[in-house]
Amino acid sequence: MPYRLLKFAWNREHPEPRMFHSPAVLNTEYDAVIIGAGGHGLAAAYYLARDHGITNVAVLDKGYIGGGGTGRNTAIVRSNYLTREGALFYQASVDLFRDLSRELDLNLFYSERGHFTLAHSPASLRTQRWRAEVNKHLGIDSRVVDPEFIRDCVPQIDLSCGGRQAPIHGALYHPPGAIARHDAVAWAYARGADRQGVEIHQQTAVNDIEVRDGAVVGVHTDRGYIKTRKVLSAVAGWTTHITPMVGLRTPLVIHPLQALVTEPIKPWLDHIIVSASLHLYVSQSSRGELVAGASLDPYELISMRSSLEFAEGLSAHLLDLFPSLGQIQVMRQWAGLCDMTPDFSPIMGTTPVRGFYIDAGWGTWGFKATPISGKTMAYTLAHDAEHELIRAFTLDRFAEFRLVGEKGAASVGH
């Protein structure tokens, strides 16, 4: 290596720019504390500062930013949901995502690929048609396509599934379906929030939340006590660690969801392919890896272990659709935690504990909601009332039997 280059790299006058500061001191009081420095928490901090002028905010994380669900999903963004509430919410998210690289001045590799949800039976095709019509009614670009259209777009697919699985009868096609670089979304929001004065404290665990007369008064962390009147829990799969601290019961149950990537190959798959029957979704990242995920693990588990059964099952189903992948190696596999709700919609907004706000129930649909969840939760914290897009998603909907049955959610059987 040229000596001059090495000298420059070690030169203290030109330090490598960091995405955000790591303040050494945790203050004793903040206007708001956000638990969880994932995409949702950081986006909420960013919009709190940008839209509402609230900048005396600490974002705390037990680990490092984007190390939970944000960095473990399969990075798919889409809005072809089935309920009016869900479709409008995710469409608002897609609209924000499209402009996000410019807004946050970081290339998020947001790439619109077109999203196919394959139907392996006439009954499944009927559901896809239902989704398409709901989507069209709400102004979302979505339609049912026949097998020839799929073959034209994805010539490498085996529409007969090798005769081992039910053949493909058609698909729901959603052209705006996209993938993005998920960790960059967390970094970009972290930098955007940091530049406006928000403090990001990694390696800071919340041990307890102090509640007096039904209202939040502070947070106990492993680095000391913080006085605050507003706490946002944005920890998705870790929510059931937090809610007992304020005495809240939720319907959340935690299941792992596993995913894997193959070794990188040349550009081979333009589209995002999803098959609910085969418990499979797959797309090709900008690095060339095929990113594939399965359905939820079949029972509750608060652990991010991964299993051989998953890798075997997913690979077999991948080969049913794409027999030509037989020689491609699996490079790594992992699991994320999905906090599942009974109606497959998130839990967002105020709670019976004054000053405690919840952003949870993100199950298998959290990454695609990152910008709009941040924006609507920031609004909710600033106004102490839900943004209109999330009014249907409050925690009290269960007590009132007001569920939002979202059958367009990914990776779950309905």
């Binding site: 929510t239 059931t240 019961r249 319907p251 959340l252 029972y299 509750e300 608060i302 652990s303």
Partner: protein
């Protein structure tokens, strides 16, 4: 391969079992108000820890109870449901 002890059939591979959710004693449907009923139907104690859960051995059609740590996926014990003792 993960092994689960069925109280009737002994140790069997995990693939033969189906998870039935946490054991939740049902309030009297006639006496419960809407709040108690929605609490029973929807709310869960999803926090990490040792839980008593329903499990089902599919080939033999056996429902039974298991104490399991949902952080480590270890089964502590399994037994057949006894209405009085387990609903207490």
């Amino acid at each position: 391969m993960k092994i689960i002890h069925c109280p009737i059939n002994g140790p069997r591979p995990a693939q033969e079992f189906h998870f039935g959710g946490e054991l939740r004693p049902m309030p009297d449907p006639q006496a419960a108000d809407d709040r108690q009923w929605s609490d029973y139907v929807f709310q869960r104690s999803g926090e990490p820890g040792v839980k008593t859960e329903w499990w089902y051995h599919i080939p033999s059609g056996t429902w039974f109870l298991a104490e399991r740590d949902n952080r480590t996926d270890t089964f502590l014990r399994t037994w057949m449901y006894r209405a009085e003792a387990d609903n207490a």
